[in-house]
């Protein structure tokens, strides 16, 4: 018989708070002691997500600029598709990629399933529509005179593109940060195509899920704290950056 049935509610709360406090303390100790397993998970997580965002961003910027500045057939359909895929569940991307990369799938011969490369591919697919949709909104709202002025002053189109990006840097950086936020914390895709293998494909979200399911809250809280600090830092950085922009205008 479960003894907890007879524990008064107030005591239950106290127990939970104590348990969380102890777990948080252990989490701090784990982080500060340089626990190799935790820091390896953090490094892998950042490595995968930073690689994905670095690969996806330049392509997404070119695509979003093209969608905003040029007229061509299916343009509107493409914009609608990117807007739709922006909120596609990570697990759907994971499932699709799993089917493609599994041994019997069309890309199975590449041997990418359950590798960090597969995780990078998954995260690129996840953040790409978000990057395109948000950057497209920035380019769409851009003052066309910026582009025309750069061109009439002798800038080559690629140079005018960089000038335009500089003019829109606040919106574009917000898009990149949002894209990074989406992939650093996603679990569905990483779990399916990475497999959550220790020292190989275990990242922060999959590790948190695993440790929590085992009742080992300390490591989960430690990794959760890293994600929280990252999220706060990114948002603070963007706010400060955008604040400087408002002062200039």
């Amino acid at each position: 018989m479960d003894n907890n049935c007879f524990t008064p509610p107030r005591s239950k709360t106290l127990l939970a708070v104590t348990e969380i406090s102890l777990a948080s303390l252990t989490a701090f100790q784990l982080l500060l002691s340089g626990n190799s397993e935790i820091w390896q998970i953090i490094a892998l997580s950042f490595g995968v997500s930073v690689s994905a965002i670095i690969i996806a961003t330049p392509v997404a910027l070119i695509v979003s600029f093209t969608l905003a500045f040029f007229q061509f057939p299916l343009r509107r359909t493409l914009i609608a598709l990117f807007n739709t895929f922006m909120s596609i569940p990570a697990v759907i991307i994971g499932l699709t990629l799993y089917l493609l990369l599994s041994r019997s799938g069309p890309l199975g011969h590449l041997g990418l399933l359950f590798t960090s490369k597969a995780m990078v591919i998954g995260q690129i697919l996840l953040c790409f529509p978000l990057l395109v949709a948000m950057s497209h909104a920035s380019f769409q709202a851009a003052d066309r005179r910026a582009w025309e002025t750069a061109i009439t002053l002798g800038a080559k189109p690629w140079r005018a593109f960089f000038t335009l990006m500089h003019e829109l840097r606040f919106g574009l950086i917000a898009a990149v940060v949002a894209g990074f936020g989406r992939i650093i914390a996603e679990i569905g895709c990483s779990m399916m195509v990475g497999g959550n293998i220790l020292h190989a494909t275990r990242n922060i979200p999959t590790a948190i899920a695993l440790e929590t399911s085992k009742g080992e809250f300390a490591q989960g809280i430690a990794l959760g704290m890293v994600l929280l600090v990252l999220s706060l830092s990114l948002n603070a950085g963007v706010s400060i950056f955008q604040g400087k922009g408002e002062l200039r205008a």
């Binding site: 003052d143 750069a150 002053l153 002798g154 500089h166």
Partner: protein, 236 residues
């Protein structure tokens, strides 16, 4: 009268409707042309075509002794023609950086560009604004910075879209003074303006854009006065 550039058969349709169908537009060398026309007559579209920003359905360009189609003429046009918007666009940088923009894009070394920028600021009496963020300037100051930024690239033709619109009297006077100086330096200018009286004193000819075509309205009364102002007028 020598022409700097001639445009023939300029045709463009926008939203399925013909907007421009200009048989011939000659730009006289070292002269200022005033272009008027009602709202929506296509003045801005014409300027964007003439500056290489907008591809027309058809055009033939006669420039530097060459007959060219759009594709062939575009590099020459983009090198020698500068278009200024009705409300000048300045990049999110200092005034000095804005003026240096074209020079840096043309591959000018930083030190040389800096020297030219200092001279240009002095020319336009904008030295006191050199380090100000360009976005914080008034409309009149922005227009003067834009003119200086264009001048530093030594264009042969300047296309100015309503350069004195929404300006107060003093700003109009300062802009008008810069335009006179530019003309005196031998730059050909086409100005579109609703406020003909503001620029009439520097215009040599007055054209009007009506029903998609251009026709001369009158030879400007200021033609002789301008001839005196312009030392390069008779250079071949």
């Amino acid at each position: 009268m020598n022409n700097l550039i001639e445009f023939h058969d300029i045709r463009i349709r926008l939203a399925g409707k013909p907007l421009l169908n200009i048989t011939k537009l000659s730009v006289p060398m070292h002269q200022c042309t005033l272009l008027t026309g009602r709202n929506g007559s296509g003045k801005t579209t014409l300027f964007k075509i003439l500056s290489g920003l907008l591809k027309p359905d058809h055009i033939r360009v006669h420039y530097q002794g060459l007959q060219m189609n759009w594709r062939q003429a575009k590099p020459y046009i983009q090198r020698d023609v500068i278009y200024l918007h009705q409300q000048a666009y300045l990049f999110d940088a200092s005034v000095a950086d804005n003026i240096a923009y074209g020079l840096r894009r043309a591959g000018e070394k930083k030190a040389a560009a800096q020297r030219k920028v200092i001279q240009a600021l002095d020319w336009a009496d904008l030295t006191h604004l050199a380090h100000r963020p360009a976005k914080q300037l008034s409309g009149g100051e922005k227009q003067r910075v834009a003119l200086t930024r264009a001048r530093i690239l030594a264009p042969r033709l300047l296309l100015l879209d309503e350069p004195t619109a929404s300006m107060d009297g003093e700003a109009k006077q300062q802009t008008s003074l810069l335009l006179q100086r530019l003309k005196a330096e031998g730059v050909s200018i086409i100005i579109s303006s609703h406020e003909a009286h503001t620029v009439e004193n520097i215009a040599d000819q007055h054209l009007t854009l009506d029903n998609g075509d251009i026709r001369p309205l009158k030879q400007s009364a200021a033609h002789d006065k301008v001839t005196v102002l312009n030392p390069l007028k008779n250079t071949p």
